[in-house]
Symmetry: C2
Subunit: 329 residues, 2 copies
Amino acid sequence: MGLLKTTDSKEVIVAVDGSGGDRGMVHIAGAVNFAQTMYPNFKALVFGSALLHDELKRSRIDWNRCEFVETYQVIPQDSQVSDVLERYTRSSMYQAVLAVQEGRAHSMVSAGGTGPLVVLSRHLLSTMENLRPALCARMPAGPGRYSLMLDLGANAQCSAQDLCDFARLGDAAARLYFGLEAPRLAILNVGTEELKGSHVVQEAKARLEASKGLNFTGFIEADRIFCGDADVIITDGFSGNIALKSAEGVYRIFSNAPGIKRFFAKMGKPDWLLPWQYNGSLLLGVKGNVIKSHGNAGKEAFAVAMVEAVKAAQSDLAAAMQDNLALQK
Amino acid sequence: MGLLKTTDSKEVIVAVDGSGGDRGMVHIAGAVNFAQTMYPNFKALVFGSALLHDELKRSRIDWNRCEFVETYQVIPQDSQVSDVLERYTRSSMYQAVLAVQEGRAHSMVSAGGTGPLVVLSRHLLSTMENLRPALCARMPAGPGRYSLMLDLGANAQCSAQDLCDFARLGDAAARLYFGLEAPRLAILNVGTEELKGSHVVQEAKARLEASKGLNFTGFIEADRIFCGDADVIITDGFSGNIALKSAEGVYRIFSNAPGIKRFFAKMGKPDWLLPWQYNGSLLLGVKGNVIKSHGNAGKEAFAVAMVEAVKAAQSDLAAAMQDNLALQK
């Protein structure tokens, strides 16, 4: 692993996968510009097509702090695992992850397909302690408060052991993010009673109760996700994704109610719940800082993901995660 | 099966499990009273403790249209399947389902544990065509519009075949509810692309695409649940429950934003999204009309579940379901 130490470096370099995202490339210039303004020591290393290069050239970004590398492939969303590793080495996503692996960038951000990104990251960066990597986001839990939630879509099917892996990753991350001594960990379930839910969550609960060094508090229901009842919410990637998107659907309906924009302009919206602010999931458990943006992220959302990538680079999150995981034993 | 034909009967009799619900028995009198006011031919057959009897006696219900049967057991939420069938025959839930089985009631409603209710209903009423029963609710899909969604918690773990069973049940129910010739069926997934999601949803999709007589349209994402993109949304009980509760959590946060009650009083709330209005899930696939209310249903929500029970009784929903399922072949 050739991860640079941020503290030894004058620059924070973020590799940007310029191919992904349902909305194409239009937000990349804006996000690079935003990060350049916010962070004087930020530099972008953008991988993408000649078209993206043209788009960037028309923007106001500072070329002293942006390097562009033309790539010639885009990984289709529905690619097979073997294809991603063998056939798409010239893609922007592959090249951006490779830049992290080779130490040419401190972190990478992508709005491309989750499946390919996870496969490439596991393969090129390798995993921490053989734990199963998971996508983790900071969920709003009241004004100025947050919980971590994982997995949000890296693994569509999870075993009890996977959930226990996520508990360790979430615990290590919550210590870093929130400075907590013993983050409260809870498993997302359809009820809080002992016998509720699938065999998977039942078994994961039993194992976590038996494990030392983790502050496991039991089950949590989905209507309490945004209430701060737990510091880390553990779930399989399927349920996690569905919980998040369902919440976003309702948020959107409320936000579009007639007259509500004027109301919120006056009264103060529950802004802490804004879906785009928790864009930029961290792929925890791989030896490198990989940030996943929603495929359909808007301008603000992609900029938030870029900021997450800068922050992960500044703090060398992956290295700190490894230190914390080692302390759990 | 001794299901009464509603058309032959002067009365619509709803058996009420008077034990269940996190909030106890306080809402039962109100719901009985409400249904008596709404439906002149409605009669309640309430099973419960002497305490509930006292509570009812203090209320304004019409005793000419309410019969009370004292029961002496309450099924704990975390009971084992075998216990429910063998040890709790004197419970209010058992007796209420038995009343449907024996034709003494046209439907039953319970706010008790989902697990026990499903076990008892399958055992006492038996299943339709060996399909796996599922909890189904009408989800708001815009003002005055609805979709059906199932399973909402009867089955924590589901196979591809289970999802195909739910598709048949949902199709039959949507024909009845919405008068549609070919209801659009979709499977809830983490993406709409071909290769997204678990093996279970992948295989269910392949089977439903190959099946004749069902209008299967593919995958649907959770942020589109409330948008009317499908007439029937098919999911496992774990994900379905989590999607619903996550939505309710966000709804509650918005509804409690400072000043919003006054705003909505003026501007008209997106009332069609009110969580309590879709209380009262139907347990589809058992040979009898079984309605499940949320355990923590409020007064309005439990009354809505009671109304669902009256409607299911009036239309003899279970019998109509069987006719529709037979037509699918």
